[in-house]
Every structure is written in C-alpha cells, then in structure tokens.
Symmetry: C2
Subunit: 366 residues, 2 copies
Amino acid sequence: MPAYLTDLETPCVLVDLDRLAYNLDRMAAYAALHGLALRPHVKTHKAPRVAAEQLRLGATGLTCATPRELEVMSDVTADLLLAHPPVGAKLARVLALPPQVRLTVALDSAAAVEQLAAAARRAFRQVGVYVEVDVGMRRVGVQSPEEAVALAELVASRPSLRYAGIAFYPGHVRERMGEQDAKLSRLETDLRAILDALNAAGLTPPVVSGGSTPAAWRMHEVPCVTEVRPGTYVYNDRTTERTGACDWDDCALTVLATVISTSVAGQAVIDAGSKALGREPMEAAAGPNAAEGFGALLDRPELRVARMSEEHGILDLRHSDWRPSVGDQVRIVPNHACIVVHLHDLVHGVRGELVETSWPVAARGR
Amino acid sequence: MPAYLTDLETPCVLVDLDRLAYNLDRMAAYAALHGLALRPHVKTHKAPRVAAEQLRLGATGLTCATPRELEVMSDVTADLLLAHPPVGAKLARVLALPPQVRLTVALDSAAAVEQLAAAARRAFRQVGVYVEVDVGMRRVGVQSPEEAVALAELVASRPSLRYAGIAFYPGHVRERMGEQDAKLSRLETDLRAILDALNAAGLTPPVVSGGSTPAAWRMHEVPCVTEVRPGTYVYNDRTTERTGACDWDDCALTVLATVISTSVAGQAVIDAGSKALGREPMEAAAGPNAAEGFGALLDRPELRVARMSEEHGILDLRHSDWRPSVGDQVRIVPNHACIVVHLHDLVHGVRGELVETSWPVAARGR
C-alpha cells in the first residue's frame, strides 16, 4: 500500500531517492576518474543500506567515528577505518569487532598508540594505524614532519599494529569560503614536507587519506593524496550548497514538518524545532551567521526557519506574501544534514509525494 | 558489582542523584508553599523514573510535547497535557492513548480545535483544551482577549472537547536577563485583561497554566496563575544558572568525556562534540554569544568547550595552566540539558565516582 507525504507523522526525515542515487554516482565517478580510493564517512547516513550502495559503486571501505558505527557497518564491509582515537573504555569494544574486520585507526599521540597496541595484543589482533597530521584545521593531528616520523616509527615498532599511512582532515578548505586555491596549494606543500620526512625515514605511507565533502572534489589537484573520505555528499545540505560543492537541487534530505500555529502576524510555526533540525548555524567567512536561520524551505529557499524552540520552528514570512494554514506540510533543507540524521531513528525514502521505502538510522546512538 | 566513572564508555550522560533529589524537592516545596499545581514538562528527562518521582512528590500530572512522550508517560500517570497542537497524522496517534488517560491539549487556532474535536468524536473520547495565549513570547498563542474568548467559545461548543483553562509560556521572563520585574508586571496585566474578558463571557478558566523553569520561581507573584509547568529544573544547566534560577552546584547533569588529543598547543580535544553536547549557545541580552562556548567543566567552570565538530570538542586551555593527558576524563555542564538528553539513549545516575544506576531516555525519538 503506497503511502503519501500527507500520511506521515511530522517532524520526520525524507530522502529524495533520485537525488541520493545521483549524489552517490557523482562521487563514485569522480573518485574512479582520478584513481582515488573512496572510503566514505558513514556519520552522515548511519545506515547499512546507504553504505552498501556506496560499496557497490566502488568504495573500498568505510570510515566511522564511533564504536556503534563500526559495529553496525561490520555487517556490510570488512574494511573499516575508525577516524577517532579509541582510548579508555572504548578500546575493548572496538577490539571485540568480528574477527574478519580489518580495522584501521587514525590517531595522533603516543599515548593512543600504546593503549591501542596493548589492547590489540591482548585481543590477538593486528590493527592498522594512520598517523593523523594537522594540515591547518587545528583540531587534531601531529604538528610537524618530525612528530609524524616519530609517531610512525612508534607504530611500526609495535607488532600488534600495522603502519598503514597518514590521514588528514581538510575541513578548513571550502569552495567560496575564501582562499580555496591558496589553501589547497598550502595543503600540498605541507603534505609534501611530511611525505619527504617519512620517505627519508623509510616510512613511506601506503595511503595518504583526506576527507570532507567540500574539499573532496578538488583532491585530484593534490597529487600525493590516494584516498578520500567524504560523508555529507550523499545527502548534501544548505552548507554544502553554500560552499559550492553541490547545487540546491542536489539536496536530497529534508525535514517534513507541519504548520501548527499562525497566530503571530508575519510568521508560521512548524512542529520541527531544535530537536528535529539541530541548532547548526550557517557559517560565513566571519563565523556563524545566526541571521540566516536554521533551515530553508525546499521550494522557497528564501524562506527560513528564523528561530526555534525545542519542538517549535518559526518561519519568518515578513518578506513574503505566502501564507500557509494550520495543518499544511512544508519541507525544510537543514543547514547540516549529519546532525539531522543523528536526531532521528528513521528515514523515509521518497519520490515526489510518494513514500517508497523507509530505513532505520541503525548506527545512531552509542 | 559497582561501576566507576572510569568504567564508562564516553561520551555519556551522568546525573548526580543527590542534586536531582534536591532539585525535585525544591520545586515541589515551592509549588506546595504557594498552592500552585505542579505539572512538570517531561521534555527535559524523557524518563518514567524521574516522572514517577515528580508525581510522588506531589505533581498533579505531566506536560508533554510529543506523541511519544504521551505514550511513555501514560504508564506513570493518567493526567497528561500535550502542550503542542496535534494536527495531521499525529491526531490519530494521540487519540489512541490508553482509555484511562485524561488528555488535555493546548492550542491556539480554530483549525486545531476543529481537527481535535472531530478526531475525539470519532475516538469516543472527550479531550480537555487549554486556550494558548501569547503573553510576550511571540511564538504561539492568541493575540488578544477577544481572540481568547472566541476560541474558548468554540471549544465550549464542541461536545467532544472540554474547556479546561488557558495556558501561556513565559519563556521571555528570565532572571538576570533584564527587566524581569517589568516583564512580570506586564504579564499580570496581560493575563488580567484576558481573564476579565473570559469572565465577562461566562468562560472563567478553571486553570491558568504557566511554564518555564526560570519564571516558575516567581509565578506566585502573578496571583491569577494556578499551575506551573517547569521542565529544566530537574537537571538545570549553564543557562539556568546564568538566569539565576539555580546555583552552579545545582547542575545535576553532566556529559562525561575523554581527552583524545592534545596535539595542538593551548587546547585539549575531547570525544564529546555537537552530537553529544548539542550546539546550543549561551544567550546574552543581545542574543546568542558563541564566545561562551558550548559547555563548561564541572570542576573548572572557567574552562569551556570553545569549538566542536560532530564528535570532537575543543577545550580552550590558553588561559589556564591545567594540562590534561590523553585518556583523562572530564565532566561537562552543557548549555542546555534538554537537548543533551534528547541526543542520548541512556543516563547514568552517579554519586561521586560511583555509578549507582542507569535508566533509558525512554521517551526520546518520535
């Protein structure tokens, strides 16, 4: 029995199946064209069904951020990267993954190496390691070629670990956010210095792995990169569109909401607030820009969710003559799709007004 | 077998059981002292265990925002308020609550009244209605005494509905956020005008229901109010403390996180990012203040989570000589506890370093 959008209880998450298929194809074709290994980050969809499609289209493995993501994704591939150092109580859980899983971990400290080496030894496993290097994001990663060599040497000296390469996260490199060309050129210089030092030490990295959807489309311009780890490209969002990494019509994910009040003049209140949309601001060159709101209508991108409470979103209609009624449905393109998925347990796959399928956000939670 | 904080996989949510008990007692005592009915909003804890304790301490019923919250809470009380108009596909679900539930709904439009009246009639139920009035929040609620009378008359004319009173949400009335006294006085004037109009029309409201933790402590100064609906008071958070509605030592909820990187000078990276803490800013009189970060260390409130990615939080240590090591645990008081709870499936109840109990966030999700 087919269901229609009007049958759905709101707020809920919709994914346009045609746009999803196009987005998956486009990145797979880009990676194949340039000979880049594609290891998508599952944080965006957290769904085995989407991951399986990424693998079918040529992805060599998957990237995860949490033990839960690893566990769920071990059902669809044996080649998993944990792009987040597991320390403390997480370690035992990560090492308890099914034995066929070839696990690689990205890390940036001797402490994380020692903890991982000891836990892997106790679990009778060998774990691959990417040495995480900072190329300008200032979040994680060793800070110099010398530190990269020292950490790679430490990894190579531990029998329970396998030195698998280096990883970096170019989250600061975004189209239209200023200085993209200069940042790309700086990125290559920085990577080159690290690679020269590693080569000189006999520690040539088998893999040079970069990530991030906005930067992925230009990674072929950085010749030493061998692998990309984009996540958001499957769904895209207002931020991706703003960076120039996709068009508005490539935004596959929307939040379906219902108008619940029009009492206050100049606005309409919907049942999607911060607990359904997340309170992610649009970023401008100068930082977060709250004035841009927390999402925009799919069919009227000039209309925004201007304010939110936990279960209320306020559509600002002051500069529009469109006036919805209580009970009308609207579709919101969020600022950040990954956060929206993390807030929901279920996603509906739609074509037009028809709900064709649904799937659980199986790797949500901890 | 007792568990200790160091046994827990991070990020996870901790609730200090002694502080929770104190917070529950304090609000119950306040309401009892002033003869106010207490109908706590469950959005903060979403947990039957905490709700049952609120009822044991004298709450007359519970307030919910979603069908899921209603369903889960119908196990602990039969007296439920849905403070969010159910329109569209939600209606059938809400009307399918167990027959013993005495449901009241707050709404502000004739469309919502008509939909609810028809659905209630079909379900052979009678549903109570609070007419929602706007007293300055500019979110939902009818805009004048005349509109309140018209909507109350419509409700009273429908056999499947029961006119149960009026509701307002004084979210704009916060201690230390400026003009609290003036706003309270204005609130009473506005309510008085609405009550006079309703009385004159023979529609004296049986209940005058207000909400919000920051304002709850002063609702006894608005004599016409008969019921309060605070939510956040059970856990409190950085925002509650800032408004003056609690002390720092009343913050019962923290996020336990682990330091995973100290590579970049002047900062430490923890494994709690926006997917564990939420991206809720601290509010200042002039609006959101991103410079205050997204949480503060329980034991060092001057140290803040300055930046976040989805699974990374950056502790800014530039103005401190404290230097944690990879693997160290920290406890973060979030800016907004309700959002943190909504991001997690489980809460651990702790005393000191001991994990005494755990409970599910049973009413999370849709």
